[in-house]
Amino acid sequence: MGGRSLLWGKQTYRWSDLDFEANAKDGNGVDWPIRYKDIKPWYTYVEKFAGISGEAMNLPQLPDSHFLPPMEMNCVEKHIKGRIEKEFSDRNMIIGRCAHLTQPHNGRGQCQNRNRCSRGCPYGAYFSSNAVTLPPANASGNLTIRPYSIVQSLIYDEAKEKVTGVRIIDSETNEAIEYSSKIIFVNASTLSTTQILLNSKSSRFENGLGNDSGELGHNLMDHTYRVGAMGKVAGFDDKYYKGRRPNGIYIPRYVNIDENSKSDKFVRGFGFQGEGFRGGNPANIESFGADYKDSILKPGPWEFFITGFAECLPYHDNQVTLNGDVLDKWGQPTLSIDAEFKANEKALNKQIQEDAVEMLQKVGLKDILGFDKEHPPGYGVHEMGTARMGRDPKTSVLNDFNQVHAAKNVFVTDGACMTSSSCVNPSLTYMALTARAANHAVSELKKLNF
């Protein structure tokens, strides 16, 4: 229970209209059926509930959240921030905005800076379903959880012309069970959601539920990942830190955000995450013995790195399909993934590395190393798309309230719904879209529209 909400990086950033208008402006993909003003109150709603820490900056391309106090930068990060902002007046370096509590909140404890998040937090200090949403859901008395359930498909009733429930396979007993429901939210995570929809075939939906457009499975995106630079920082040997802060620094997008920052090499943009820390590898020091041993008991040299995340365009060819030739242990078709980064993403990556090296050089770091692990899509673990929102049922799967166009009682609000990918971490946007869609579902239910 908890899925990726237990393991995620907790970085949380709002989108702006720069992101929502991008497809319409440069002609890639289809237009989002919503704008920032539609989702803005829902960002605030989920941020007040989840607890998001950060510093308000009033940047148009990265709107502020409703914030808890920000975490702090260490001395090297503060020093580098000052130098970068002096050398590059169009750039900012901020502490990461993250779903960690910096003060007690709604009965949950504040972050103790252990950085053991992936073991589960005993304080509930970062946002996970387990710590934040499941407890109040359970307290409502309306929650039933059935783990060990593989959702095989949605049930489409041909006579009623609507989706009436889900079919599951018990993962331990292989028993097939059906559940009926008026409303279904398919939020199995991007690829699994689309796998379920593709696997939900009927004579009405021969190619998968909601796939009248033919776009289901297509327009898969991910952020590019592990491109940037690192270097050594001199002059802070007498400084250290206390605590293992589970957050780093962030450099918001500064390219293609206005006329002055327009690039002729690519569309869209990138942001950087990074960190300053005392690192080094004692095994590399060409020494051994008593003095060597005593010396490595002290912390290593200060290092600083920034690693970029670039937006990926929605390409029809980047897709997932069901593979009936390779079945899983429950006899279900597996998912084949066929995706690559193309010219625009490669151009963005090239700029990321050049800019990273240049920034570290300009602020006086030594032994600067640029890097690009040339990861294919998937490594960024921000996979999005394959059941996109859109204005036109002929070119999209979902409407402006995340309802499947042709089956309005089915909602998708996880990464699958995304029409474009921005360069910022997407989870906060999933949360806001989910709250907004759930609110809409309730109001439609009350109007007896389901």
Partner: protein
């Protein structure tokens, strides 16, 4: 034919292990232990052998290396000793301190280094790390993660609470163990 007395005397001079290795043979343990003791000797703080780094490393080989990995480490230890014999006339454990030092000094200058990394991932294309620096890295890992070093010698802070972003090193002392 050796006399009974000379057999008895040779048994006394042979050191016996006081623990049962899970993977390494006795001769291999002696080589590894001698290496660990030279790289991280006891000073005013414990040495690698004081915190049983040799036992830990034997356990790592036994429980986490696959058949190929185990074959390779065995071959690397044998090659290391064969080179000592060729260059200095005896296997590592039979050399005097001065010659052992020369062996390690040579290994330091010829052994490939680890590439830098971020978030646990090595950057660039890592050239293969040879036996010496690989063992040195394992020694440091075993040493730093031992309970005695982690809790009593390095700075131990399991639940930091607040983050202090700019603490003078003099206020901390040794590196954090966690």
């Amino acid at each position: 034919m050796p006399s009974l007395l000379s057999l008895f005397q040779s048994c006394k001079t042979e050191s016996r292990l006081d623990w049962q290795p899970a993977f390494l043979k006795e001769e291999e343990v002696k080589t590894i232990s001698a290496l660990l003791d030279m790289i991280l000797p006891r000073t005013e703080t414990p040495g690698a052998l004081d915190v049983k780094a040799d036992m830990f490393i034997d356990k790592v080989f036994a429980e986490t290396y696959d058949i190929t990995g185990q074959k390779n480490i065995r071959a690397e230890i044998a090659t290391f000793n064969a080179d000592c014999k060729k260059n200095f006339g005896a296997i590592f454990t039979d050399l005097n301190e001065a010659d052992r030092t020369k062996v390690l000094q040579e290994a330091e200058t010829t052994s490939e280094k680890f590439n830098p990394g971020i978030w646990g991932v090595s950057l660039g294309k890592q050239k293969p790390i040879g036996f010496y620096r690989s063992m040195k890295s394992m020694a440091i890992w075993a040493y730093f993660t031992s309970e005695e070093m982690g809790k009593k010698v390095l700075s131990y802070d399991p639940i930091p609470g607040n983050y202090d972003p700019c603490k003078p090193l003099s206020g901390v002392g040794n590196r954090w163990s966690l």
